[in-house]
Every structure is written in C-alpha cells, then in structure tokens.
C-alpha cells in the first residue's frame, strides 16, 4: 500500500493506486491522483469525473463503458458520447483512469 501527500495529509492508496478509502476524495486529491496518471485535468476531464461521481452517488456502481458513453452522450452532448472522445481524455481507459481520479472503488475486473 502506498500513499500520496495532499495538503500535508497522507492519503492511502491500494496497490493499483486507487483510494483505499473513497471518503478521502476531494478536488485536490483528484488533482494529485491525476498527476500519478500523467493526466492534465481540463474542464473536459472534470466533466467526466463529475459525471462518474454523480453516477456513483445515484447508483453505487461505476457504469460499464457502453453505459458510460451512452449516458455521457445524453447528458453532455452527442459529440462526447463515444469511446474515442473518452480515450483521448483518459488514454489508459476511462474505467481505470477516470474512475481512479474520480475516487471510485477499483472496478472488480470481472468481465
């Protein structure tokens, strides 16, 4: 288990760099997590992160990619509702990378 330092506080991570306690998340923590993934957070990145957080708050799961693209297309506009757009923002994959930055639990990898 590793940790990142945010605002003088140590935030514990699991072996894959996800938050050990999802309650630790805030925007500053998100920026620090983005740095570990070499992602520069733009408004477009935040849009996806906020979408994921809202989805998780409502349904208690991270949506699978097909559902994510469909729902994003519906909420943020058709031009954003596709995997190409999401992979441009999060090259390592929205499920892994965007969920990590959004402070969601690690996907179980059960597909």
């Amino acid at each position: 288990m590793s940790a990142i330092e945010v605002g003088g506080k140590n935030i514990a991570l699991d072996e894959d760099g996800f938050l050990a306690d999802i309650g630790d998340w805030n925007e500053e923590v998100a920026l620090a997590l983005a740095k570990t993934e070499n992602v520069d957070m733009t408004d477009a990145h935040w849009e996806v992160v906020n979408f994921l957080r809202d989805y998780y708050a409502e349904y208690k799961i991270a949506p699978m990619i097909r559902i994510l693209t469909k729902a994003i297309g519906k909420k943020l506009g058709k031009e954003k509702g596709n995997t190409k757009y999401l992979y441009e923002l999060y090259p390592a994959g929205p499920a892994k990378q965007a969920c990590k930055i959004a402070g969601l639990p690690k996907p179980t990898g059960c597909v």
Binding site: T108, G109, C110, V111
Partner: protein, 118 residues
C-alpha cells in the same frame, strides 16, 4: 450434449459440491461434454489446494483438480475469489481465475446450464 455447471456453495458445509461432482462424473460417463465448471459465491473456496482432509473422507479440491486434469475447464470467478482470499498462490492445479464473462460464455455455449448451491 454439452453441459455448463455453476457451483455456488463452498465444500463440506453443504452437499452442493458433491452433487455437482457426481453429476459431472455421470455426464462424462454418458458421453456428454462439460463446457466448464464455474465457481461463484462461496463456491470459489472449492479450489484452494490448502485443504488438509482426514484420509477416511473425500478430498474435495483434489477431486476437482483431477477433473481439471481430464480436461474439464475449472473457472474461478475473480471478484468472488478476491473477496474470499483465493488467489493463484493457493489455487489447485488445472483451475484458472477468470471473469464473470466466462459464466456468460458458458450460458451461451452450453446446451444446458445447471446450478448447484445451497
């Protein structure tokens, strides 16, 4: 005919593992093919090689491993296994840890899917 098997219950606590095993033996004897045995829920604990069983009783994980050696695919759900402390370090020979998608494949590929559990 091809049969997929889902095992939802751990060994010894419940007869499910025994029923599944005897069913599979009979199906193979009748000339059928087992497309795979998918271990889910506490069923994943069937597949630890750390079992140490008195000599006058059946050794359930060894029995599974022997079926695996005969070519019956043994698939252990990764998410269920992680929850219960089963990983490749403790896994019996001839079993593999894989995703729930494999259960979906069994449902699609098999003529019959039968579940054994509590």
């Amino acid at each position: 005919m091809t049969f997929g098997i889902l095992v939802q219950e751990g060994p010894y606590n419940h007869e499910a593992s025994d029923s599944a095993y005897h069913f599979i033996q009979a199906a193979l004897a009748e000339g059928h093919k087992i497309t795979g045995v998918f271990f889910y829920n506490d069923g994943v604990t069937n597949t630890t090689k750390l079992m140490d069983i008195p000599a006058d009783d059946r050794h359930i994980s060894k029995r599974w491993s022997e079926l695996g050696a005969k070519g019956v695919p043994l698939i252990v759900c990764v998410a269920a296994a992680k929850r219960r402390g089963i990983n490749s370090d403790v896994l019996i020979d001839h079993a593999r840890i894989d995703g729930l998608g494999q259960l979906s494949e069994l449902c699609i590929e098999s003529d019959r899917l039968i579940t054994f559990g509590d």
